[in-house]
C-alpha cells in the first residue's frame, strides 16, 4: 500500500473579512485621505512613532498624526517595500540597518506616495518620541535633513532597572511642559488646553478597556482571536492616529462584540481562509511579524491549527493588559507613564517575566520567537529570552528568523521547516505523555 502520492492543492476560498476589519479599513482610508489633502485644507502634520505615540497631545493642537512606521507596514503589506529598501541601499544606506527606515527613505525617493496613490505632505514637525528604540533618533534626523523641518526631541528613559522612577517621570513631564508643548503651540498656532487633553485621555481609557477584553478573550479554549496576525489589525486604531477619538471607541466596542459572539458560539479565530478549524496548538509569540509575506506566514499557523494566544508585539505601542489606562486626572504624568511602559522600553528581565506569564496565563504550548534581522531592539537578547522562558515554563520554545519589510529575508521553506518541526515536537511530547499515562 504505497502512499507515494502527490497531494492535490486545496480549492481557493472566498476571503472572509470581519465587519470590524472593514470599519478599520474605512478609518485608515479616511486618515490617509486627510493626510494627503493637508496641503489643500491647510491642516498641519506631525510625524511621530508608535512606541510613545502621544496622539492625544497631538490632537490638542489640531495636528494630523502621520506615523512613518505604519506607512512602512502598509508598504510591506502591499509588497512595495522591497523596491523601496533597494532604492535606499542604492542611495547609500547600509544593508544592516532597520528596514522600516529604508522603506520610508526609499518611498520618499520614489515619489512619496501614500496607499491612496497621492503624495504624502511634508510634515510641519517631527515629534521625535525617543522611546524604546535607538534607530528612531537617526530616522528622524534623516527625515529632518530631508524635509528641513523642525524636530522636537522627547526622551523616554529606558526602564533599565525594571521600574519607573520619580526622576524619569519628572524628566518627561518637564520636557512636555517646558519644551514639547511650547514648541507645538508655536508650530500649530494653537494654545494648549489641558482640559482638551483630559477629554481625549478619558476616551482613550474607554477604548483601552475594550481592547484588553479582546486580548484576554484568548485565555479561552478555543481562543476566538489570533493575538498576533489577527492582533495586527486589532492594535491599528489604538496604536495609530485614533486613540482618544470616538472612532476608536466605536471600533473597539464593535470588535469586542464580535469577539464575544465568537466566544459564545465556540468559534476559533477568523483567518483569510475563513474560520480556523480545530485548535491544536496555542502559542505565545515574541517579536514583530513579517509584513511582506504576512498571509503566507499566517497560513503556516492556521493550516496546522495553531493559534497565537498572546504576543509581545501587540504591546509595542502601549501595554494595557496589566492595568495601565490613560488617566485624565494626571494628564502629563500619564503620558509619561504610557511612554515608559511600552514593550520595547521594558528591560529584558521584564520582557521575560511578561512572556513567561503569558505562557502560563494563556495556557500556551510554548513560546515562538520571530527574530527580525534588522531590528536590534527586539532581537538582541532573544536567544536568552527563549532559554529563560523555556526554563521557567517547562515548555519548548521555537526560533524562526525573518525581517520586517525586506522580502529578501523571508524564506518560506526555511520558516515552514522550523515551524512544522516545532509543532511536531509538541505533538510528540503530548503523545509521549499519553503513552506514559
Amino acid at each position: 500500500m504505497t502512499t507515494i502520492t502527490t497531494p492535490k492543492p486545496a480549492p481557493a476560498k472566498e476571503v472572509d473579512k470581519d465587519a470590524s476589519m472593514l470599519k478599520q479599513k474605512e478609518m485608515m482610508a479616511a486618515h490617509y485621505d486627510r493626510l494627503t489633502s493637508a496641503p489643500e485644507t491647510g491642516e498641519k502634520v506631525a510625524s511621530t512613532f508608535v512606541p510613545g505615540n502621544l496622539n492625544e497631545l497631538i490632537m490638542c493642537f489640531d495636528l494630523l498624526n502621520n506615523l512613518p512606521e505604519v506607512n512602512a507596514i502598509q508598504n510591506g503589506l502591499r509588497r512595495q517595500s522591497g523596491a523601496y529598501v533597494l532604492e535606499a541601499e542604492k542611495i547609500g544606506h547600509s544593508e544592516d540597518v532597520c528596514t522600516y527606515v529604508k522603506s520610508d527613505i526609499g518611498m520618499m525617493a520614489k515619489g512619496n506616495l501614500a496607499p491612496n496613490g497621492k503624495k504624502f505632505p511634508n510634515p510641519d514637525v517631527l515629534l521625535l518620541s525617543y522611546t524604546g528604540c535607538f534607530t528612531f533618533m537617526k530616522w528622524f534626523e534623516l527625515l529632518r535633513e530631508q524635509y528641513q523641518c523642525e524636530t522636537i526631541m522627547l526622551h523616554t528613559p529606558y526602564m533599565g532597572d525594571g521600574k519607573i522612577t520619580k526622576n524619569m517621570i519628572e524628566y518627561m513631564v518637564k520636557q512636555l511642559k517646558d519644551d514639547v508643548i511650547p514648541k507645538l503651540e508655536r508650530i500649530s498656532g494653537k494654545k494648549f488646553d489641558i482640559d482638551r487633553l483630559r477629554e481625549y485621555l478619558k476616551k482613550s481609557a474607554v477604548a483601552e478597556d475594550d481592547l484588553v477584553r479582546v486580548l484576554q478573550s484568548a485565555k479561552n479554549k478555543p481562543s476566538p482571536i489570533d493575538a498576533y496576525f489577527g492582533g495586527i489589525y486589532y492594535i491599528g486604531p489604538i496604536f495609530g492616529a485614533f486613540r482618544g477619538t470616538d472612532d476608536a471607541i466605536e471600533y473597539y466596542k464593535f470588535l469586542r462584540g464580535e469577539v464575544e459572539d465568537r466566544l459564545a458560539s465556540g468559534k476559533g479565530p477568523v483567518t483569510p481562509d475563513g474560520d480556523m478549524g480545530k485548535e491544536k496548538y496555542r502559542l505565545v509569540v515574541e517579536g514583530p511579524p513579517n509584513y511582506t509575506n504576512f498571509r503566507q506566514f499566517w497560513k503556516m499557523f492556521y493550516d496546522e491549527g495553531a493559534v497565537v494566544v498572546a504576543s509581545s508585539y501587540t504591546k509595542v505601542g502601549g501595554v494595557y493588559d496589566f492595568g495601565f489606562r490613560h488617566d485624565p486626572g494626571n494628564p502629563l504624568e500619564t503620558l509619561a507613564e504610557y511612554c515608559l511602559g511600552v514593550y520595547t522600553n521594558r528591560s529584558l528581565p521584564m520582557r521575560i517575566d511578561m512572556l513567561s506569564n503569558y505562557v502560563k496565563d494563556y495556557d500556551a504550548d510554548g513560546l515562538l520567537i520571530n527574530s527580525i534581522k534588522s531590528c536590534n531592539s527586539f532581537s538582541a537578547g532573544q536567544l536568552l529570552i527563549m532559554r529563560e522562558v523555556e526554563k521557567r515554563t517547562g515548555k519548548p520554545g521555537a526560533f524562526v528568523e525573518s525581517d520586517l519589510v525586506d522580502p529578501r529575508y523571508f524564506s518560506a521553506a526555511n520558516i515552514k521547516n522550523r515551524l512544522e518541526s516545532y509543532f511536531q515536537m509538541i505533538e510528540q511530547k503530548r503523545a509521549g505523555g499519553r503513552a506514559a499515562a
Partner: protein, 395 residues
C-alpha cells in the same frame, strides 16, 4: 635611539601597553584589586561613563571594549544571532569564561539597543554583580536634561556608596575630577602630537597607550602618557609621504590593531579619530569647586564630544563636529570604518557623508568586525584613497 628623559624608552612603554592590551584576563587590574581589601572594580562599556565617580569611591574603572581578534567566541554565540555585531558576544564570552570574575560591577551606557539589552542580560547572568544601565539625557537644557542627569549621577554615587559601605564626599569627587582633568589634558596633548608630527607617534602606538588607560588607575595612566610624549619626541622616525585622515565610526566595537596599522602602512596618517572616546569625552577642564555632580552634568551637556549616539538638536550643527575635526587636524579626508551591523555608525554615516560633501572633504567607507582578518582589501582602499588625495587634491 636617544636616551629618554626618565629611563623608559618608547619601545618599553609601548611594550607594556601591548602587554596590557593582550592580557584578556586583566592581570594588572586583578593585581590592583588584590593589593587592598576595600578595593573594587567597576567595568564599563563604550562610549562614556563619568569615571570620576567610580574613582572617588576608591574603585578602579575598567573599560571593557570586547574581546578583540585574539578571543575565540564559543559560548558567546549562544546569546546572539549572526546579524548582531561582535562586541556583545565577545563581552559575554569574557564574562562566562570567568575572565571578569573579579569585577564587582558593570555599567552599560545608553549607546544603542544591543548594549542596552545586554544590561538586562548581564543582570540575569551575573546576579551577584552590581549592574546599571547608565542613561544620559538627550535634552540639553540645564533645567530639564541637566536635572535628570544630576539625579542619575546621584543614583550612581549612592549605589557606589552602598558598595563601598561609606559615603563618597564632594571633596573626594572634586579630587578625582582634577585627576581626570589632567588625564584628559594629556590625552589632548597626545592628539596634538599626532596632528603636529604623526610620524613621531604611530597611530597603533598611540592607540595602545590610550587603551592602557582603560585598565590602569588614572594616575598611572597619566604618567604613562607623559613618559610616552617625552620618549616619542626623542625617537628618530622618518616622515612618510602619507595623506592625513580622520577615522570615524570606531567608537564602540574596536578595529583590530592590524587594521589601524594597515591604514598607516597603506599611506594614511590617522590624525584624529573617535577610538576610545571615553578618554577625552569632556572637552574642557571640569571645575573642581562647587557641586561636583552638577559640574560633571554641565560638562556633559555643554562641553562634550559629539557622536552618533548623541542627539544633535540643531540641524545646522549636525555633522559639523566632523568638519571641525578635519580642519583642526589639517586632515585631507575622512575614513568611515563602521563595525558590521552597528546601528549608530551605519545610520549616521549617510548624514555625515552629506555634510562632508558640502564641505568638499573626500571620504571612503568600509565595514569591519573586531576579529576581521583580511587586511588586504583595507590596504587597497586606504592606499587608493591616499593616492587619490595626493594626486587630485592639488597638493
Amino acid at each position: 635611539m636617544a636616551t629618554p628623559l626618565n629611563g623608559h624608552s618608547c619601545a618599553e612603554i609601548v611594550g607594556r601597553a601591548q602587554d596590557l592590551f593582550d592580557d584578556l584576563s586583566f592581570g594588572a587590574a586583578r593585581q590592583w584589586k588584590a593589593a587592598s581589601p576595600e578595593r573594587k572594580v567597576i567595568g564599563y562599556m563604550p562610549i562614556y561613563v563619568p569615571r570620576e565617580i567610580i574613582h572617588a569611591a576608591g574603585f578602579l574603572p575598567l573599560g571593557i571594549v570586547g574581546g578583540g581578534d585574539q578571543l575565540e567566541v564559543i559560548h558567546g554565540d549562544a546569546y546572539y544571532q549572526s546579524y548582531i555585531c561582535r562586541i556583545p558576544r565577545s563581552t559575554v564570552e569574557l564574562g562566562v569564561s570567568g575572565r571578569l570574575d573579579f569585577v564587582d560591577g558593570m555599567l552599560f551606557p545608553s549607546i544603542c539597543d544591543v548594549i542596552r539589552n545586554l544590561s538586562g542580560m548581564w543582570k540575569m547572568m551575573f546576579p551577584k554583580v552590581y549592574v546599571r544601565y547608565f542613561d544620559v539625557p538627550q535634552n540639553y537644557r540645564d533645567d530639564i536634561g541637566g536635572n535628570y542627569y544630576i539625579n542619575e549621577l546621584a543614583e550612581l554615587r549612592h549605589d557606589l556608596e552602598e558598595l563601598r559601605g561609606s559615603p563618597i564626599t564632594d571633596d573626594e569627587l572634586s579630587r578625582s575630577i582634577a585627576l581626570y582633568n589632567e588625564n584628559r589634558r594629556l590625552v589632548r596633548d597626545l592628539y596634538a602630537l599626532r596632528i603636529r608630527a604623526p610620524w613621531q607617534a604611530p597611530a597603533a602606538e598611540v592607540y595602545l597607550v590610550l587603551r592602557a588607560g582603560l585598565v590602569l588607575p588614572v594616575e598611572e595612566h597619566s604618567t604613562m602618557i607623559r613618559e610616552y610624549l617625552a620618549a616619542a619626541a626623542q625617537e628618530e622616525r622618518p616622515q612618510r609621504d602619507n595623506c592625513r585622515v580622520v577615522l570615524t565610526g570606531v567608537f564602540c566595537e574596536q578595529p583590530p590593531l592590524n587594521l589601524i596599522k594597515s591604514l598607516e602602512l597603506a599611506g594614511c596618517y590617522v590624525v584624529d579619530d573617535d577610538l576610545l572616546l571615553v578618554t577625552r569625552w569632556l572637552t574642557a577642564d571640569v571645575p573642581t569647586d562647587g557641586d561636583p555632580l552638577r559640574n560633571l552634568a554641565l560638562a556633559f551637556l555643554h562641553q562634550s564630544e559629539s557622536t552618533a549616539a548623541k542627539y544633535e538638536p540643531d540641524l545646522k550643527e549636525k555633522g559639523q563636529h566632523l568638519v571641525r575635526a578635519v580642519r583642526r587636524s589639517a586632515a585631507e579626508g575622512v575614513i568611515f570604518a563602521c563595525p558590521s551591523f552597528c546601528d549608530p555608525a551605519l545610520l549616521e554615516r549617510p548624514m555625515l557623508q552629506h555634510v562632508l560633501k558640502e564641505a568638499d572633504i573626500p571620504y571612503i567607507a568600509f565595514k569591519y568586525a573586531e576579529n576581521s582578518g583580511q587586511m588586504q582589501p583595507i590596504r587597497e582602499q586606504a592606499g587608493t584613497f591616499s593616492d587619490s588625495i595626493k594626486l587630485w587634491s592639488g597638493r
